[in-house]
């Protein structure tokens, strides 16, 4: 395995990716036939989109945005605001993406800082944008506390399939990044910032590209979520706890791995829904808080890494 070059899509990697894409597509195309609860499958996909976004920025750069849902919220609200401004349907989605990318670019200088400054700064961005959208001053465009409705463009089946296509695209993009020269540069930075910088790796630029891509992923996830549920409030999408759940999903699966976000989201989201419909739903945040602490203290590299190491240990 170590003889495989770090860069380039070898035949083994292509086969692996194809299998992964086929399994993912099968789960979400056939799943609703066995268990007719499309909203469950859609929210699972939306969580996976977010987990891939976190996977890209945290798993590959080590920078964890605790205010990540600011992009998710802007994705959902961007579409609504676009419609309120009289843009067409397609243009509203473009507008949502453009607004999100604009904010991501404004935050680029944060990548010159240590990671905990980045974490708290993204949290500040989330709270600032949340209070701005929630402010009754802008209620005419944002709906503020009254909530935002996308009912006029409700197309559940179309949303479902577009979300699935996006998920497959995110999986493929993650593989492409991971096995590219660019991905190699990111891994070099994770190994040692100073060594990578001395070797001519443009550290802030490489991190910045991952950041903008990851913001794009969250914006698309938010737009799809808003489109599907059609009605949301500022605190449903600009949510601090949503971040924490998705971060737990990504880290549980294994940040920086190709399959981690899928596996982590599948397992933890099932647990989440299981607790959520039980009488213990009040304990949900407590359980996830404990899961987060246990993960970070005991297995910070996640499930996929754990399984890989087991498999390697068994080899002669």
């Amino acid at each position: 395995m170590s003889r495989e070059p770090p860069v380039g899509l070898s035949r083994r990697r292509i086969v692996q990716l194809a299998v992964l894409l086929a399994v993912t597509a099968a789960i979400f195309l056939l799943g609703p036939l066995a268990y007719p609860n499309r909203p469950f499958f859609l929210t699972t996909m939306v969580f996976m989109l977010l987990a891939y976004g976190i996977n890209l920025i945290y798993g590959m750069t080590g920078y964890l945005p605790f205010g990540y849902s600011v992009f998710y919220g802007l994705g959902a609200y961007g579409v609504y605001i676009g419609l309120r401004l009289g843009m067409g349907e397609a243009l509203s989605f473009l507008f949502a993406v453009a607004v999100t990318l604009g904010l991501a670019v404004v935050l680029l200088p944060l990548f010159r800082l240590r990671s905990h400054y980045f974490a708290i700064a993204t949290l500040a961005a989330l709270m600032g944008v949340y209070y701005l959208v929630d402010s009754s001053l802008l209620a005419h465009w944002t709906g503020a506390g009254e909530g935002a409705s996308l009912a006029p463009i409700y197309k559940p089946a179309l949303t479902y399939y577009i979300t699935l296509v996006l998920l497959l695209a995110f999986v493929a993009a993650t593989a492409a990044i991971k096995f590219s020269r660019y991905g190699l540069g990111l891994r070099a930075i994770r190994g040692s910032v100073i060594t990578a910088a001395l070797d001519g790796v443009n550290v802030p630029r490489l991190r910045g590209i991952a950041w903008v891509l990851s913001a794009l992923m969250a914006a698309l996830a938010g737009a799809m979520y808003g489109w599907y549920v059609t009605f949301f409030y500022p605190d449903t999408v600009f949510s601090v706890s949503l971040n924490v759940y998705v971060i737990a999903y990504a880290i549980f699966g294994g940040a920086g791995t190709l399959t981690g976000p899928l596996i982590g989201t599948l397992v933890l989201n099932v647990i989440y829904n299981f607790i959520n419909v039980s009488v213990y739903s009040n304990y949900l945040p407590m359980v996830f808080g404990a899961i987060l602490i246990a993960l970070i203290l005991l297995m910070p590299n996640g499930l996929v890494d754990l399984l890989n190491r087991r498999a390697k240990a068994r080899l002669p």
Binding site: L113, S115, A125, Y131, L132, I296
Partner: protein
């Protein structure tokens, strides 16, 4: 009432400005106290205690419970909070810090671990005290009000400011004069050198960490007055606010929080009076701007990785 209507236009704006300055300075001392614990913890372990806001919420509920169940004054809660939160701090220290310090990414992992702690405390508080905002009656401290150009200010604010100032003084004494406090500052400035000089880093760090928790709990007892009400879900908001105050001063230099608190208190009051709808967004975007431009804090040293 008639007198109130007479001051219009410029004079109304002027009297509101004076009012905002007075209340802003009174509250500013409290804000400095509120950020003190966060800054001490950050100073010694270089970890952002994202559960800081939860400690403050818990302190608020301590005062509320003692007042509503036994009619005990908030002063009693203020005193009781110190040992309670100190012990909590010792527990959290041993659970988190030794393990995180040797992890592959202490900065990020500590952020995640403290966020987990924050979720646990928030959800425990919701189960125990409910979801809805509650306020602490002024009579728990002192009833009545005094007037600044016709605008009422509760007398409890004076007591609150005095208590906050007293605790800032005690912390100043601890850090500047006592042997333990000087060792703490040595560790904050340069841990390796402090170790080389034979300072018992583990003990000093533990004491400062637990002190940070204790101060947060005590500030929490007074917080319902300044923030208006307490509810479990306001934890992250308070943490980020405390971070704003810490960074207006200098991160890792607890006493600079005094400057941060006063500046924030006055600016925040002025915003509340003149731009009420935009006060919150402006505060958080200002924090963002400060982190981007001067990440070590306005009075602090620059901190850059690349």
């Amino acid at each position: 009432m008639a007198e109130k209507w007479r001051c219009e236009g410029l004079s109304a704006a002027l009297s509101l400005t004076v009012y905002a300055l007075v209340v802003g300075l009174l509250e500013g001392v409290f804000y400095a106290f509120m950020a003190l614990g966060l800054n001490i913890v950050f100073g010694v372990v270089r970890m952002i205690n994202i559960a800081h806001g939860d400690l403050i919420v818990l302190g608020g509920y301590l005062a509320l419970t003692m007042f509503s169940s036994a009619h005990l004054s908030a002063l009693a809660a203020f005193v009781v909070a110190f040992p309670l939160f100190f012990v909590l701090g010792v527990g959290v220290y041993y659970l988190f810090v030794p393990k995180l310090e040797v992890s592959s990414d202490p900065e990020m992992f500590s952020f995640i671990a403290f966020f987990g702690l924050s979720m646990i405390i928030e959800s425990a508080a919701t189960l125990a005290f409910g979801y809805y905002p509650t306020s602490l009656p002024f009579s728990a401290l002192v009833s009545g009000a005094f007037y600044v150009l016709g605008h009422g200010v509760p007398k409890a604010f004076l007591v609150m400011t005095a208590l906050s100032a007293a605790m800032l003084g005690v912390t100043y004494y601890y850090l500047q004069v006592t042997r333990m406090g000087r060792a703490t500052r040595a560790i904050m400035q340069n841990k390796e050198q402090a170790l080389a000089l034979g300072i018992n880093s583990r003990l000093v760090t533990l004491m400062a960490f637990a002190l940070g928790f204790a101060l947060a709990g005590m500030a929490g007892v007074l917080a319902p007055y300044v923030i208006g009400y307490i509810y479990p879900a306001e934890d992250t908001f308070i943490t980020v606010l405390a971070f704003v105050i810490a960074i207006i001063g200098a991160l890792g230099d607890p006493l600079s929080s005094v400057v941060g608190g006063l500046v924030f208190g006055v600016a925040y009051q002025l915003l509340q009076v003149f731009l009420p709808y935009l006060a919150y967004p402006i505060v958080f975007f200002a924090l963002l701007a400060i982190i981007i431009a001067k990440p070590g804090g306005i009075l602090g040293k620059p901190e850059r990785e690349v």
